[in-house]
Symmetry: C2
Subunit: 333 residues, 2 copies
C-alpha cells in the first residue's frame, strides 16, 4: 500500500491554477483554456490523482451508485443462472456509465432492513428491485422512498410504476400453440405457484391458447416450480388423465421431474407425450430427451432495468416494458 492519495488542491498547486479550474477540467466543463486544461492534466498524471468519491457525493448530493436488490430467496428466481444473467445485463449498461453497482441480497431480516435503509436514505441514486415476494412490505417502502425504483417482474398485489417483465403469458401461449400445431389434442399443464405473478400468467397463457384452439383445459396439476413437484404433478396427471398426449410444464425444473416420471411409467417422449418447459435453464439441454422450452430474455431484463433506472435518475419518464420470450424447440416436443 502506498502513501496517501493526493487531493484536488495539490493538483491545483502543482499545475498553477485554482481548485475551481481543476474541478472544471475534471468534470470537463466548458470555458477552460487549452493551456490550463493541459497543465491540469499533466499534474493529475504526475500525482496519480483520483477524485475522492465521498467528497464529491457530499458536495453534489449524488451517490454515484445504484443498487440491485434481490429481496426474495425464492429458489426459482434466484436460481443460479437467472441471477448471473441478470447481473451480466445490468453490468453491461453500468459499464457505460460512471455509476457503481451495489448488490443487496436481502436474504435475512437483516438484509431486509438494510435494503429498507437504502431505500429511505439515498444511499444509492436508484434501486432495481428483483423478485419481490407477493405483498412484500418492501414494495410500499420503495414507493415512499427517496430514490427512483425499477422493478424486475411484477407481483399480483400491485403493478409497480416502473417495471420490466418477461412476457410469461405470451410465452406460455406460444408454447401451447406449438403443441397444438403438432396435432396434440389432450394437453395438460403443471402450473407453478398460483399465488405468484409468474405462476398465474403462465397458467393464463395456457388457458388462452387452448381456448383459441377450442380444446379442453381441465387437465391441470398445481406445482411449486420445484423438480419434486413436477414429478408429483406428472404422476397425478397420468393417474387422472391417462389419455393426455402433451403437457406444458411451467418451469424446466418441474419438467425435469415430469420427464423422469414419464420414463418410469413407460411413456415415450415425445412419442406418447410431448413436453414443453419454461425458462431454458442449462439443464434443459441435458435432459433426455432434450427439453423444448420457452426462453426468457434474462440478460435483456437486466439491461433494460438498468437503462430505465438511469433514465429515471436523469429525470426522464421512461415507460415500463414487457420483453418477448422465445420458443426453443428441442426433442421433447
Amino acid at each position: 500500500m502506498r502513501n496517501r492519495p493526493s487531493t484536488l488542491e495539490e493538483v491545483a498547486r502543482l499545475s498553477g491554477v485554482s481548485t475551481g479550474t481543476v474541478s472544471r477540467v475534471i468534470n470537463n466543463a466548458p470555458h477552460v483554456s487549452k493551456k490550463s486544461r493541459e497543465a491540469v492534466q499533466r499534474a493529475i498524471e504526475e500525482l496519480g490523482y483520483v477524485p475522492n468519491t465521498a467528497a464529491r457525493s457530499l458536495a453534489t448530493a449524488r451517490r454515484g451508485a445504484v443498487a440491485l436488490a434481490i429481496s426474495s430467496d425464492d429458489p426459482v428466481l434466484f436460481a443460479n443462472q437467472f441471477f448471473a444473467e441478470v447481473i451480466s445485463g445490468v453490468n453491461a449498461v453500468i459499464e457505460e456509465t460512471d455509476l457503481q453497482l451495489m448488490l443487496v441480497l436481502a436474504a435475512s431480516d437483516r438484509g431486509h432492513s438494510r435494503l429498507t435503509r437504502i431505500l429511505q436514505s439515498r444511499a444509492a441514486d436508484g434501486v432495481m428491485l428483483l423478485a419481490l415476494r407477493e405483498n412484500d412490505p418492501l414494495s410500499k417502502i420503495a414507493d415512499e422512498g427517496q430514490v427512483p425504483v425499477v422493478h424486475g417482474g411484477r407481483s399480483l398485489d400491485r403493478t409497480p410504476q416502473y417495471y420490466v417483465d418477461a412476457d410469461n403469458r405470451g410465452g406460455a401461449r406460444q408454447a401451447v400453440e406449438y403443441l397444438v400445431s403438432l396435432g396434440r389434442q389432450r394437453i395438460a399443464t403443471i402450473t407453478g405457484q398460483t399465488d405468484m405473478h409468474v405462476g398465474v400468467n403462465r397458467y393464463l397463457g395456457f388457458r388462452e391458447a387452448l381456448a383459441l384452439a377450442g380444446l379442453a383445459d381441465h387437465r391441470i396439476s398445481h406445482g411449486d416450480f420445484s423438480e419434486a413437484s413436477g414429478a408429483a404433478g406428472m404422476a397425478q396427471l397420468l393417474d387422472e388423465h391417462p389419455d393426455l398426449d402433451a403437457v406444458f410444464v411451467a418451469s424446466d425444473a418441474m419438467a425435469a421431474g415430469a420427464l423422469k416420471v414419464l420414463r418410469e411409467r413407460g411413456r415415450s417422449v415425445p412419442g406418447d407425450v410431448a413436453v414443453v418447459g419454461f425458462n431454458d435453464i442449462v439443464t434443459a439441454q441435458h435432459t433426455h430427451p432434450a427439453l423444448t422450452t420457452v426462453r426468457q430474455p434474462i440478460e435483456a431484463l437486466g439491461r433494460e432495468m438498468t437503462r430505465m433506472l438511469v433514465r429515471l435518475i436523469d429525470g426522464d419518464r421512461p415507460t415500463s416494458l414487457i420483453l418477448p420470450t422465445e420458443l426453443v424447440v428441442r426433442e421433447s416436443a
Copy 2:
C-alpha cells in the same frame, strides 16, 4: 418520493443536545448520559433520521464498502452457478457487518480500468479479486494499491499474499484414488487448460494418485474445460488407448461431452469406462448416468474471502486458506 432527509443537526436541535452528543449516541460511544441518549433516540425516531453515508465517509476516511471484482470473462469460472454461489457466501458475511457490497465485473476494457481506479483510489475499503487471468496486470496493481486485497484462487505466475483457494490438487487425487479403489487400472485424464492454475493442479493430482498406486499415467488428452473439448478429448483417448477403463475429467462440462462420446461409441458407463468429473455443477445430476464428481466449496470460498478481507480491514493479519473438496459419488463411477 418524500422530502429531504433530515440531518444530524436537526436531530440535535430537536433533542436539545449538541451535534457532538448526537454523534456519540449514533456510534454508541461511551460517556453519554442515559437522559441524552434517550432524547436523541426519540428525535431520531421522530424525524426518521438516517445518517448520510457520504458525509460520514468523508469525515472518517472509510468507505463502508468492499468490492467483489471479477476480472476474467473466463466461462468456466464465471459460469452461472459458481458466480451465484460465491456471491451468496460473500453476502452471508457482509450481512453481519455494516459494509456494503460493490460488484465490479471487469468484462470490458472499461470495466478493467474502472477496477483499477477502485484499487488505486480507496473507493472501497477492500477488494476481493476473483478469477484473475494468468499474468493479469491487475495482480500487480492490486499489490500496489491503497486497499487490502483478497484473491479467490491463485494463478501460476504469482501467489498472492492473501488468498482463498479450493484444493484442486487434493480433489483430483481423491477422485483418481477412488477410481483406483474401484479396481480400475488403465486410467486416463482429460485436462483443463494447463496454463491455468486449476488446470495444472488437477492434472498434478491425477499424476500423484497414479504414482502412489504404481499405475501408468500416460493416457492424457488436453482440453480447455469446454464441453466440446471434452468430447474431442474422449474421442482421442479412445482412439489412442482403446483399453482404458476409467477417465478423470477435469471439469463436469468436459465430462458431459465425454459421456456423449462414450455413448456414441457404445461403451457403457461405468461398466466399460468409469467417469469422474470436477465441480459438481447442477447438470452433473442430470447426465446419463449421473456424474460422480468433485465438489468445490464455492459458497465457503465466498464466505472465507469476505471474512479474511474484513479482518484485513480491521488491521489483522489473517492467513491464506485452502479449502477441502468433496467427492460426490453418483452413478458414473
